[in-house]
């Protein structure tokens, strides 16, 4: 059985986000923010949540190695800035120490009666939104292969890496499907890398969440992204079901036409591998 390895400080796992930063990511969502800005917020919140989940009385435990690959124009690059741009993957404790900055945000909260309350929150930033150039998806996925090939060789018994890939468009640098297949074939003793794909809404359509059948998609590129996506492993099925999604056998880690709610859920579900075990 795959995806059973316990995640511990001695045997951490890796989470790699692969982010489309092409020009179209500056289009606005219905919420008014650009796709790029909302995604950056969700990604930064996800990093913060991972750090919080790894924080114990004795400090931040390094259960995860986390990286961000950003692609646009003709190539891919490290999505972290500042002093984290020295390598593709970082331990949780390194992340915790080195955000680019900490912003103060006004967060909207629903009161019990449904009215809105505003609250000032501290919001650490590791990743900045950008959107310029073409959709160098093949370059982005190839960069992920380079990073994770090495990581898997160094961590043969670990829970396999999870890749969250976010895009809104068609690749401009070739067919990404064989590259995705190679990425998924990278493995530890506990199974192959998990590639989850998030396709962003172009208009106001309803999202298709964790489909189990390619025929549910009409769009040719949507079908390709479906085939590029790993089956949801048991822990992700459980996390998705807890959020109220109806998960059928064979469901893939893929959302097509995601809006703000499904974007946030995708990141949450994709970054919750089996809770770390060591005490």
């Amino acid at each position: 059985m795959s995806y059973q390895a316990e995640i511990s400080r001695a045997s951490p796992t890796a989470i790699l986000m692969v982010m489309d930063q092409s020009t179209s990511m500056n289009h606005r969502l219905q919420s008014g923010q650009s796709k790029a800005a909302f995604l950056a917020d969700v990604l930064n919140k996800t990093l913060y949540t991972i750090i919080a989940n790894c924080s114990k009385a004795d400090g931040v435990r390094d259960y995860f190695h986390v990286g961000v690959v950003a692609y646009s124009g003709a190539d891919a690059r490290n999505g972290f800035g500042g002093s984290l741009d020295d390598g593709p993957l970082h331990t949780i404790s390194q992340l915790a120490e080195k955000p680019l900055r900490v912003e103060t945000r006004t967060k909207k909260i629903a009161a019990t009666n449904g009215d809105m309350i505003e609250q000032s929150v501290r919001f650490p930033i590791w990743f900045e939104p950008k959107s310029q150039g073409k959709t160098a998806m093949c370059a982005g996925l190839n960069a992920a292969i380079d990073i994770l090939e090495q990581w898997c060789a160094e961590h043969p018994s670990a829970y396999p890496p999870t890749i969250l890939h976010v895009t809104d468009g068609h690749p401009s640098d070739g067919n990404p499907e064989p590259i995705a297949d190679r990425l998924k074939s990278l493995a530890t003793d506990d199974g192959g890398c998990l590639l989850f794909n998030l396709h962003l809404d172009a208009g106001g359509g309803e999202p298709l969440v964790f489909p189990n059948d390619e025929r549910a998609l009409k769009d040719r590129f949507g079908k390709a992204l479906f085939r590029m996506s790993s089956l949801l492993p048991p822990h992700a099925v459980e996390a998705a079901a807890q959020k109220g999604y109806d998960i059928r056998p064979g469901a893939r880690g893929f959302v097509f036409n995601a809006g703000i709610e499904t974007i946030a859920d995708f990141f949450d579900i994709g970054t919750r591998p089996a809770v770390a075990a060591d005490r």
Binding site: Q30, Q33, K45, M116, V121, F123, G203, G204, K218
Partner: protein
């Protein structure tokens, strides 16, 4: 130059929504809602936006007359109900005072910190979808011609009327094209009435937005609706361009099978005349 008139309380303009309520509008869209329900939501929201744009410190100013004409089965009648049921056209301040009801809806919003919050919002209703029978489009456009001609007679210097026509099907009472041609010849001193058509079919084919030629459309019915549509005047063409649509000289105010965001944008673009002038 046409379409230059300033819109003021002394010189209001006129928006007329002509809505197909034939039985087929109850067909479900991909999202599981009927087309009729979706169009009703967008129309109610559009009316609310028009009310809001006329709301000043001293109350709701009558910059607009707004009409709703509903057709289906053997009926051509006002789409307003309650206190407004006596006429097709009302000044905007009467509309603001006489909603059918105000619903409470949940709206998912970006919470400003990488998450999503569900908040209560007030949603005023003026128009309820009621669907049955055939599609008496010719009779509906005949009534539209009468209504618009009446209005233009008493508003000779105003910005001309804008008619937004939403339909999903073929006319069941004869070809409406000559009526539409007659409608586009009714004019104020500031130019002829603008007729924009939104064609929503059930088969979900590829959408065509603001085309310049009927060659871009495949079925005869869409081609006719294209010919029935006014070219976008310069200020609306610019506004549509700002929303990301590709607009060229000769683009008509016509959308075939737009996605939901397109439908929302169609109403927004169509109800955006030059900003009001009086203080």
């Amino acid at each position: 130059m046409a379409y230059q008139a300033e819109i003021s309380r002394d010189n209001p303009t006129f928006f007329l929504f002509v809505v197909d309520q034939s039985g087929s509008m109850e067909d479900l869209t991909e999202t599981g809602r009927s087309k009729a329900n979706f169009v009703a939501d967008v129309l109610n929201k559009t009316i609310y936006t028009l009310v809001a744009s006329c709301s000043k410190a001293d109350g709701v100013r009558n910059y607009f007359d707004v009409g709703v004409l509903a057709y289906g089965g053997s009926e051509i009648k006002t789409g307003f109900g309650g206190m407004l049921a006596d006429r097709i056209v009302h000044p905007i301040n009467a509309i603001s005072e006489h909603t059918l009801r105000v619903e409470e809806r949940q709206k998912k919003m970006d919470d400003g910190a990488g998450g999503v919050v569900s908040l209560k919002t007030k949603f005023p209703i003026w128009f309820d979808p009621k669907n049955n029978g055939g599609t008496p489009m010719r009779a509906a456009l005949t009534k539209t011609v009468e209504t618009v001609a009446d209005w233009c007679r008493s508003h000779t210097t105003s910005y001309p009327p804008t008619i937004l026509h939403v339909t999903d099907g073929e006319s069941t009472d004869g070809a409406p094209e000559d009526m539409a041609n007659g409608l586009r010849e009714i004019a104020t001193k500031d130019g002829p009435a603008l007729l924009f058509n939104l064609h929503v079919t059930a088969d979900g084919g590829r959408g065509t937005v603001f085309p310049t030629s009927e060659a871009e459309l495949s079925d005869d019915y869409s081609k006719m609706l294209f010919r029935m549509s006014s070219p976008l005047p310069a200020h609306l063409a610019k506004y549509a361009g700002d929303k990301g649509y590709s607009i060229v000289d000769g683009s008509r105010g016509f959308i075939f099978n737009g996605d939901p965001q397109c439908i929302v944008d169609f109403f927004e673009i169509g109800t955006r005349p030059k900003l009001v002038a009086d203080r």
